[in-house]
Symmetry: C2
Subunit: 362 residues, 2 copies
């Protein structure tokens, strides 16, 4: 178990990662709150409530359940959760624990940010993706129509507790999705994390908490380091978008049905690496290492049938783009990326066609 | 025209009040935004768009219209407004101007707080209540069911421009509603503001911008002073709840149909003054001055038929109460209030009965 610290001008909180992380709740001042609520999904809670409450010293917290899936990231659900909290007697001195994956974390964080204009909350992420990425950094939000996170807030949690034990109940697809984000962090960090991931990728399994623990902690450190230096995303935080520019376009082009978020990021990394190679930013040898690791996670859903023009059109809709510009995050080598704002569209298209062609010839 | 400044640890913005205040937009860096949107109500905008845009140097801002009335303070409307902004091309560098009364200000502020996790906004309040009170302090929010402002955020505007010229189109009832909040501020401030209001109350009319301007500015100063020293409401800001504890209960007890917010605050001030007299906190002579001024605004809707028990039950539902406690803001004299946390319920009930009895004997 490692106690990490996310800290910047406007926030400071602990991120406790590893086996036994839930025990960190015992040293959190739970008793200073008027009440404690858990936002979660019913099957997940049924499976883990006993372990979580016993480890954390929680006595029968009140639960608010939401259905699993991205559809729960809506203002309608914010309203429903807020009503349940109110009925349950939650006031400004109540604490909310978001126990779940990215959807629960984003929704719970946004509810916490806005319920009675803001209450304290804790992230207890239960998916690999949430543990290494979305639970850290204070980004919260819900979708409006097809637009992901259109309504949201920067609102840091008071504590993050990530125990890899809980990954045991994670479906294989969701686990793989988290691995792609882990690889993204490994590319950003380079060095030991990439090597370790490279050495052990095939042995990483949801139930292998012992092997996962240190890797999750190291991947979380990458995110913590970035958000601790730049809590808004205008600057450094942008590097976290590695793989997400192409990735978002792929997700949108297929109505969020063909790719899991992680798979889209997987493709996004491959495409960004290819683009960086074309622009002679990335050394080919390093490019091979990156692509090799991504490919080893498993076969990705096809992209060869997607319209390149359509994907290009969907790129600027990334809301991180100011005034329509695209800030490409391109790898130079393991451990180093570069932000490029003036990539010719022809090259963006060519990188896509390169990988579509390769896929057809497989 | 007066340029006031609201400033605390986490924010700093100008509040420009008085005839010609809209011209302050000319020195605001409008051109630095990717686009400017106005959130408003259609009839109001039809009446004032030309004057506002000409004074402020705004060139055809894009408008998002919402229906008048408290029903627009909903998450459904947040979703609708966010969709319109997105369709109109609003991005993170867009500016939102909330042109309207308290509903537009609260809704617009909340949309600004959460659209793409936060964009800049300007308050251009068009009701007396919004000019002296709700546009200042950064409280934003929407209702959930019967619960006012259950979902919201503290999110300061970049600028507030209050021109009393616009009050010309304000209905008499809404104008009176603002006068009650002005009286609240005058009690908190004491001194010149109370005297001036006392001298001129009957001459205050929506179209009398010349007389209103300085009074609106002085009343706004009271709010600015409080929020500048305490941007959250745990401390000093609580004194702004003068008249709002009883007031909220009266509004809830009558389903928000019998009293305008201002009228409820009017009763709330009378009741708080009576309670303070009963507790020997308030000098009787000063109590008479306070009550006299409130009564002169106009006849208030009846309270004699309301169940005292029901009102008592509704008091703790005020979300400002921590763990069910009620923080009574009671006047000691003009210019001084006291927060009392342990008022016996019997006295709270007795103050209510006193005024109900007085009403029956009128």
């Amino acid at each position: 178990m490692q106690r990490l610290r996310a800290e910047a001008e406007k926030f400071a909180y602990e991120v406790v990662v590893g086996s036994g992380a839930w025990r960190a709740l015992r040293t959190f001042p739970l008793a200073s709150y008027s009440s404690v609520f858990v936002l979660t999904e019913r099957p997940l809670w049924n499976r883990w409530a006993n372990s979580f409450c016993r480890a954390g010293g929680l006595k029968e917290p009140r639960c608010v359940f939401v259905p699993a899936g991205e559809n729960s990231k809506s203002l309608r659900m914010v309203e429903r959760v807020a009503s349940r909290l109110l009925e349950g007697g939650a006031d400004r001195r109540s604490l909310l624990i978001a126990f779940g994956g990215g959807v629960i974390g984003d929704l719970g964080g946004f509810v916490a940010a806005t319920y009675m204009r803001g209450i304290d909350y804790i992230q207890a992420p239960t998916t690999l993706l949430a543990q290494v990425d979305s639970s850290i950094g204070g980004k919260t939000g819900v979708d409006v129509g097809a637009m992901k996170n259109l309504i949201g807030a920067f609102y840091p949690p008071k504590l993050v507790v990530s125990d890899p034990l809980v990954l045991r109940s994670l479906p294989a697809g969701a686990f793989a999705s988290g691995l792609f984000e882990m690889i993204k962090h490994a590319i950003l960090a380079g060095g030991a994390l990439f090597k370790q991931l490279d050495r052990s990728l095939e042995r990483l399994r949801p139930a292998n908490a012992k092997l996962l623990g240190p890797l999750v902690a190291d991947a979380a450190k990458v995110k913590i380091k970035v958000v601790s230096r730049d809590e808004r995303e205008a600057g450094l935080r942008r590097i976290l978008n590695l793989g997400h520019t192409y990735g978002h376009a792929l997700e949108e082009a297929t109505g969020y049905r063909r790719f899991s978020h992680g798979q889209a990021v997987g493709w996004g990394i491959l495409l960004a690496a290819r683009l960086a190679e074309r622009l002679a930013i990335l050394d080919q040898g390093e490019g091979k290492k990156i692509a090799g690791l991504v490919r080893r996670v498993g076969r990705l859903p096809a992209i060869h049938d997607l319209s390149v023009d359509r994907i290009l059109r969907l790129l600027p809709r990334d809301k991180k783009a100011v005034g329509g510009r695209i800030h490409w995050v391109l790898p130079e080598r393991l451990g180093k990326v570069r932000i490029v704002n003036d990539v010719p569209e022809a090259e963006v298209a060519a990188a896509l066609r390169d990988l579509q062609r390769a896929e057809r010839h497989e």
